[in-house]
């Protein structure tokens, strides 16, 4: 592949206490593309995703070996501040988790704590821009002071996306963002992911192979803590090179 590589993992092993959750993961994720991580439950795809922005640091028993390189820099080296890293790498979670604050404050929170904006006007502009980017502005423009939790599930998830892009990260990690949503909300989010891929590098964990096929350009298949196969999405779903991948996408294992 000729694309520019944004994230590169080298021999990443992850342990939860004694249990090995990921085994020698080598994966390259291209810039401004959507990479889907698929695989059965417990295969380690979410664990890998959470390694990219060091969310696993918050788990005491989690231990990581190997290197994850983002923009030529090993994010696990001692010079890297995980807080700064997470400002660069946004995350959207499985269950929509807006703060129990107003819609405006939800989006404004990131820019506020990082001191990105200088004035209230600038902040408002940024909030509106982010909500528009997340395709939510039209639905909420009259009630920016309502609490974020009063929105529907799909709207909440788009609010979380707006919140993530408000601090203009370069990478957005999505951990099964549609698993709690109905098909219509899912379709809206998928469209949004397509749109976002123009500006952001997106890594998405999904259980739905149709979703992976629809939104991603690259797909990586995980099984039992190992990366089985990675390649162009159309290729993975049409002519996988590994038997296990074949079995998974045809529903024989999972």
């Amino acid at each position: 592949m000729t694309e520019k590589i944004k994230i590169k993992s080298k021999n990443v092993n992850v342990y939860y206490g004694q249990k090995k959750a990921l085994d020698k993961i080598n994966l390259e994720i291209p810039t401004n593309k959507v990479t889907a991580l698929i695989g059965p439950s417990g295969c380690g795809k979410s664990t890998f995703l959470r390694c990219i922005n060091r969310m696993n640091d918050t788990i005491d028993i989690c231990r990581i070996e190997g290197k994850i390189i983002v923009d030529e820099e090993d994010i696990y080296s001692t010079e890297v501040d995980p807080v700064l890293l997470r400002a660069k790498i946004g995350m959207v979670f499985q269950k929509p988790n807006p703060f129990p604050k107003s819609i405006f404050d939800n989006v404004a929170y990131g820019p506020k704590i990082h001191g990105i904006v200088n004035s209230n006007d600038e902040l408002e502009e940024l909030v509106i821009y982010s909500l528009k980017k997340a395709g939510l502005y039209g639905e909420v423009k009259d009630r920016l002071n309502d609490t974020g939790t009063s929105l529907s599930g799909g709207q909440q998830q788009r609010l979380c996306i707006a919140r993530a892009i408000a601090i203009s990260p370069q990478i957005i990690l999505m951990d099964e963002p549609c698993s709690a949503l109905d098909p219509i909300a899912t379709a809206i989010i998928e469209e949004l992911i397509d749109e976002l891929a123009k500006n952001f590098t997106i890594v998405i964990v999904t259980h739905s192979m149709q979703q992976a096929a629809r939104v991603s350009q690259q797909t990586a298949f995980f099984h039992m803590g190992s990366l089985i196969e990675v390649g162009r999405t159309d290729q993975i779903f049409s002519t996988p090179s590994q038997k296990k991948t074949q079995d998974y996408i045809t529903g024989k294992i999972g």
Partner: protein, 424 residues
């Protein structure tokens, strides 16, 4: 028997089990409610009498010969005048037939000794009264008050009764002249303790309780919240923090009198803080309340869903920002509820305060954190252990005041929980 039959058979058994269980539950609740009603009604029946006191109407003659003993009509004379004699003479004029000195003394005991001072103040304010005869309602002494409020006590045999047959006859004469009435007992709400039941009030110990609880709150709340947040959010999970956690939980179960002994040993004997003072009481109760608030803080921090923390951390908030911006505000209702419950525990606590001398007989309403004072439960205990019959009603009334405060505080706790708890 086929399976369906078996299920049908076992279902009957299960249904019976269920209804039996329901009955046990109802019985339990009924028992608890019955006892509660008995306790509350007996307290209210007894205590409500303390909110009224008895007054006797007298024609008081401010005899210049008694007041101005030196004939120079100075204020000093009024201050040291024998108002007891004035009251005695007034009573005597209502019962002119009594002349025996002993009987007269008994008669003058109908009126509370506090009225001597009240009359003195009345005359000081208005010197024109000297030489005049005016009609006044004077506070009856406690034994007359008790007899007047409890008519069934008149039926008791004379040797067991509070007053003799003679005194009872006098009382009945006063009654038939319509010279007796019951009025709101203001003393109870404005005075501190006294040896005379009709002059004793709850206000002194209420103020003492307020001072004590204030100290408890400002000491225990910040310390406990800081400790709880540190243990729950920031401390590494290791043997040492486990050890601290176990000990905090144990501390919550330590009998409160132990804290009193600690206060006696350290605050009084080592630090030489004043005895019987609300500041020391507050410190002792703060020690006792700390574990309660720490445990409540940790429980409500734990109850904040991890998704909120992840959202904040994922956005690049620091640990401190995550806690102060999101976790703490969300857990505040729980923390406040725990605090108020700890406070109402402290309000009802007497044992540790006995150890540091807050059990003293205090006749003045405390004015500061360093003044000697007592607190509500200790005041109740003191009244309960006093022999005079009038204190029985005061004790019950004191319990009513204490209970009202507990209900008020718990009501606030419920209100905070309902009002500020966020749902997501």
């Amino acid at each position: 028997m086929n399976n369906l039959k078996k299920i049908e058979y076992s279902l009957k058994k299960r249904k019976r089990q269920e209804s039996r269980f329901k009955i046990y539950g109802l019985l339990g609740i009924a028992t608890a409610v019955t006892f509660l009603c008995i306790i509350l009604s007996s307290i209210v029946m007894e205590g409500k009498k303390a909110f009224l006191s008895t007054y006797i109407k007298l024609e008081v003659y401010f005899d210049p010969d008694i007041i101005y003993t030196n004939n120079d009509q100075k204020e000093e004379d009024i201050k040291f005048a024998n108002f007891q004699k004035i009251i005695k003479n007034s009573l005597n004029s209502f019962f002119p037939e009594i002349s025996d000195k002993g009987e007269l003394r008994k008669l003058s005991n109908f009126i509370s000794s506090s009225e001597e001072e009240n009359l003195m103040k009345l005359v000081l304010k208005n010197k024109q009264l000297v030489g005049q005869k005016i009609t006044l309602w004077l506070l009856a002494s406690s034994k007359i008050d008790v007899i007047n409020k409890n008519p069934d006590m008149e039926l008791i045999a004379e040797e067991d009764r509070l007053i003799s047959d003679l005194e009872l006859n006098w009382l009945n004469e006063i009654r038939s002249a319509n010279n007796i009435k019951s009025n709101f007992n203001k003393n109870f709400f404005v005075k501190a303790d006294s040896t005379e039941p009709e002059q004793a009030g709850i206000w002194g110990s209420l103020v003492g309780s307020f001072f004590t609880l204030f100290i408890t709150l400002i000491l225990s709340f910040p310390i406990a919240v800081a400790a709880g947040v540190f243990l729950e959010e920031l401390a590494p999970k290791n043997k040492f923090t486990d050890f601290i956690e176990v000990n905090i939980n144990n501390l919550a179960a330590v009998p409160s009198i132990i804290f009193g002994l600690l206060g006696l040993a350290i605050f009084l004997n080592v630090m030489h803080l004043p005895r019987s003072a609300p500041i020391v009481g507050g410190m002792v109760l703060a020690l006792m309340t700390l574990p309660t608030i720490i445990i409540a803080t940790r429980a409500s921090l734990k109850a904040v869903p991890p998704s909120i923390r992840e959202a904040a951390i994922g956005l690049g908030a620091t640990k401190f920002q995550t806690v102060t911006h999101h976790v703490l505000p969300l857990s505040l209702p729980g923390i406040l509820t725990g605090t108020i419950i700890g406070m109402s525990q402290a309000l009802g606590e007497s044992a540790p305060l006995l150890m540091i001398g807050m059990v003293a007989f205090i006749v003045d309403v405390p004015g500061s954190f360093l003044d000697s004072s007592t607190v509500l439960p200790v005041q109740i205990y003191l009244w309960k252990s006093t022999a005079a019959r009038g204190f029985v009603e005061l004790t019950a009334a004191g319990v009513m005041v204490l209970l009202s405060f507990l209900i008020l505080m718990n009501g606030i706790a419920v209100f905070i929980r309902q009002k500020f708890e966020k749902k997501w």
